[in-house]
Symmetry: C2
Subunit: 284 residues, 2 copies
């Protein structure tokens, strides 16, 4: 990585992180709107990638469905998954996309694959909606509490990536799964897990000193392990989809950071995991 | 249609209709299990069709997800769409299918298209779950009442098809949309709608004489119109997917009746419509 690119990356992060923190703290429609925007950009990148494989997704319906899913969660975040707007939005998307394809796609433009990518793209990228659900868990005691819960999977995902990078650089020899992602090593994957477990313990320890929640050490350690594994799986999934499409970055949203999907690939897996942990294991 | 095929069709209907009626009357897991089976067969047909377009769907995950969605609705039908198991099952399918594709599909077997068809197929064919929701609407007064509500879109769909057939044969000249479905005519489509409206009025009139529901004539007429349109759209969607795959029937489940998807294509559109009508317009 060239020096100037490192500077650009740092500058983007210096702006992006405070903006993200403010949106998460404010929560509600500010956070929901930002996540709907991010998911919409990510799904458009996925649609563009799928074109190299002959699909012609219904972009307008797909983006509308993706944003609708995130905003549906934002409309009543305390309801969590018991929100009829979530299956409602997906059913509407399935019916609208298939109906529209009769006229937009005929038989010439791969209707089955195109409709499939449209619906899958919305279901996949709208997993960001778990960020809103985490921020507004019914048992949160304050805006900072909700912010801290949402940042648990976010910070641990970022730490897991960082541990993987340094462990891989220091000890990496054997490749993890080179045909999917040539840079990743077994040492990097192991280092990520080994580093993320104590990080999760520290994170939940702070949470326990500050809220009514008393962390179970075993559950926190298992959470750290699962977040690191999920973050790496989410990264591999996106690497696979990018290699399938023959692109290096999913897009060019942020200078030095690649596309939206590059930024959020791991969070699509770790945010749902964070929700399951804090909602049903910790019971917030 | 040859005489022997007509006989076979009639024989299959003579067995199938009483079985379907018994399952609907019994409701609960009997109906949910039967619909889960039908949706699973339909999704497998869709997967086989997608293979002609280069996709290699994760069949086991897709069938499990399809059945899980229908059975999730059956677990608590009174909750309707406010059932956390519905989005839960879909999220699990998205995460499981993408994760599995890292190992099962690598970059060689079209992972993006294959995962997309897997998830779309489950979302599309599991629309049959609206049958369970209709049968067990929270306001039903008896098993027969629930049966009668579920059969409203079923019977009107069947009548709409029948009107389309005879109107098309009697007056059909101008083709409706020949590149998607060469046999359909404008006269058939119009005849279907014109016939289904009074049929819907008659059906709801019987319902009104027999339950506490008093039908609004306008809402019943609009319902008949929308069912006929939705039935025809659902039929066109499946015709499009079959032409895309280059097959005449989706499968050979029932002698003389084609595949499961051929049988249920219209119901995937009219059952959700029936649910919306009886749940939110009529208020059962």
């Amino acid at each position: 990585v060239a020096r100037s690119e490192t500077l650009t990356r740092t500058a983007v992060a210096a702006v992006g992180i405070p903006v993200a923190l403010a949106a998460v703290y404010l929560g509600g429609w500010v956070l929901g709107g930002l996540l709907a925007l991010c998911a919409s950009l990510a799904v458009l990148e996925l649609f563009r990638m799928s074109a190299t494989r002959g699909a012609a997704p219904l972009a307008a319906a797909g983006v509308a469905g993706t944003a609708a899913l995130v905003l549906a969660a934002t409309f009543d975040p305390a309801a969590g998954l018991a929100n009829p707007l979530l299956p409602g939005a997906l059913v509407l998307l399935v019916l609208a996309a298939t109906t529209a394809s009769i006229w937009t796609h005929g038989v010439e433009r791969q209707p089955l694959l195109s409709v499939s990518v449209t619906v899958f793209g919305a279901a996949y990228t709208s997993l960001l909606l778990f960020g809103v659900l985490l921020r507004h868990l019914p048992g949160i005691e304050s805006a900072w509490h909700g912010t801290f819960l949402l940042f648990a999977p976010v910070v641990l995902t970022w730490l897991s990536d960082t541990y993987a990078y340094f462990a891989g650089r220091a000890w990496g020899k054997r490749k993890l799964i080179p045909r999917v992602s040539p840079g990743k090593t077994v040492a990097g994957a192991v280092g990520a897990v080994v580093g993320t477990v104590p990080s999760a313990l520290a994170y939940t320890w702070v949470l326990g000193h500050w809220t009514t929640y008393r962390p179970g050490w075993v559950e926190a350690a298992v959470f750290g392990l699962l977040v690191s594994v999920a973050a790496q799986v989410g990264d591999l999934v996106e690497s696979l989809l990018k290699r399938d499409a023959g692109v290096k970055d999913s897009g060019r949203l942020l200078p030095g950071h690649g596309g939206a999907l590059d930024r959020f690939d791991s969070l699509l897996f770790t945010l749902p995991l964070g929700y399951v942990f804090f909602r049903w294991v910790v019971g917030v």
